[in-house]
Amino acid sequence: MAHVEMSEQELRDRTRKFLRKANPDVVDQYTFRGAQYDHGLAWVHFPEGFGGLGLNPKMQAIVNDEIRHNAKTFYEDLNVNPIGIGMGAPVVLTHGTEEMKRTLLKRIFTGEDIWCQLFSEPGAGSDVAGLSSRAVRDGDDWVVNGQKVWTTLAHVSRWGMLVSRTNPDVPKHLGMSYFLLDMKAPGVEVLPLYQITGEAEFNEVFLNDVRIPHERMLGAEGDGWKVAITTLMNERTALGGGSARKGGGPIGVVMNLWKKYAPSHSPASSAVLRDRITQLYIKSELLRLTSQRARAAGKAGNPGPEGSVGKLAQAELYKKLWECGLDIMGSDALVYEAGYDLRRPEAEERQDSLQYAKYQFLRSRANSIEGGTSEIMRNILGERILGLPGEPRVDKDIAWKDVPRGG
């Protein structure tokens, strides 16, 4: 999209003017962000009338700076509506009807409508494109049956981005379509999916004869994968990159644990643990610096491999970091203060609590699985960055229905 010209100063002034009208410390989230949207300051690279001004995306930083400087309250998109803002809005803008843009975009930005993404299925994890939930045309509707899994926020979502198979007789990538799913529609059942920590961050979503009007299909029939892949990419680059602050993040927590526990170890054990922590500090630093280089390279317009490296490196590093954290605790690692009552996630523990480190130790096991397993990431690095050849494919050029699959 061609960008309108507007100077940084003009945008600053416009933001200040808007803030004089709407003060986040006074009015509530919906009101404030509603006004921000109406002023085209929600996502400045969107067109006018849809919460933007047609500017370069980088200029959004100026708006956020101004709001941070002029008010105590700042609503992080990631807390308001992560999937809706990160993936929903772009998809609606690119593939949605005028009516969808008019009715959906503002409520996405304000957070009135939470969105979720229904891609993964029990039988389609690393191989998402192998998904088997079926959508069958019936008059003006599509009737969907199947099961989705790992669906964040589904239990509070108003809308879901659903990819389902509309044609099993073509190769897997070509037979899917992308739908906007009304999460309140009959036949949509959302159940919590409890994990190693006893919490349910995710959901299972069962779809039984769910009817979706044909006009809620985004992109053309069979284009589901093309539409979805863009959002998937966003997800992956969102992960990895380590902490912004030197010595911040997990390594900071582990180093504080060490200060607490060092005296409880023998001199020899201390020296061994100390060297391990130092190695982890070095890798944490290099993860931080490498993603910094990636951003710099990105700005310079020649994105190098550093980006994709981050997801893999961070996943493997964080597992080791928290393992070391528990080793530092010695016998205290036997205790799990919080217990395992099955529940929805609650507010995070304080970072200086033992429980926080133990929770992270358990939670980090998913780092090398969620958003692309480390095996998939190594394939990507090997094939897309280093240009190594792919494996012989047995599922590439045959109809999806003829590809062997489990249950």
Partner: protein, 374 residues
Amino acid sequence: MMDFSFTDEHEELRQMVRRFLEDKSDEQAVRATMTTERGYSEEVWTQMAEQLALQAMVVPEEHGGAGFGPVELSIVLDEMGRALLCAPYLSTAVLSAYALREAGSPAAQKDLLPGIAAGQRVATVALVDAGCGWSIDDVETRAEEDGAAWRLSGRKVHVLDGHVADVLLVVALAGDEVGLFRVEPGADNLERSLTPTLDITRKLATVQLSGTQATRVDGGGDQTAALRKAVALTTVALAAEQVGGAQKCLEMSTEYAKTRLQFGRPIGSFQAIKHRCADMLVEVEFAKSAAYHAAFRAAGGGEEGEILAAAGVAKSYCSEAYFDVTAETIQVHGGMGFTWEHPAHLYFKRARSSSALFGSPIEHRERLADHLGL
């Protein structure tokens, strides 16, 4: 050169225990039991004694025991680790039985071992003081003579099944002697509380002793060496439990890798998964060598230092191997392996916790290095 091979009797014992546990301690039973406060099924505990006399394994025959040794006990624990059995077996039939065997007075043995062997008692040893290590030398709880009896003061933590044990054996300092004392579960000035554990398939408790009345049950004199041996023999058994769990996880992972299809292929046909399973296999085989060598070594008697060294090798290696294998098991299972409903996390937590029991791998290696004169 030590002969490692199991006899047919060993194999029969293994099959007998496996059949019993497949029947009494399947995944459903484990999940039902682990969430109870007691942490075990009294019914299964009784059947284990009446049908298989498992609690009697290392209890001498003159005290109603089976008079078996470390090798047979390791076979039993191997199977219990495989099944993730929730029961006060390690505390009662291993740690307490060994402690009484090595340090108990004839009277105490006569009094307590038969009940343990018969599965009528749940016993444990309170060893670690709050904020202290697992070595006998780290014990801080004090025992003061009070007429015929003794009074104990201290705070014992990580006491296996300490919240339910009816025979509570406490390691305490009487002057400069380390002694073994018995506290009545109903005694005054005794507080026992269940610890919320990372591994909820094995219960730990905190025991607060505030001038609590006790009787001395050791044979007299300093019991440091005797108790150190009892603990070493317990770690040999624990190493076998770790091997059983690791072997089971390897089997789960292999089975999943054969049946889980992605990209139109079993994931086990991808080298990323296949080679990971191969590396797990190597670790499991090494762990078996470590655990069973230590058991045969302990059974063979011989030089104390050699037994402690073999136990240290086993505990240090099997702890790390079990942890690696369970971590890889989660990874091989992908998202499914991270869910509560899949058993992988139960083994993972058991592995992490059993690695901390009786001292960390680093600590065991430090002692081994001293032994090797490094």
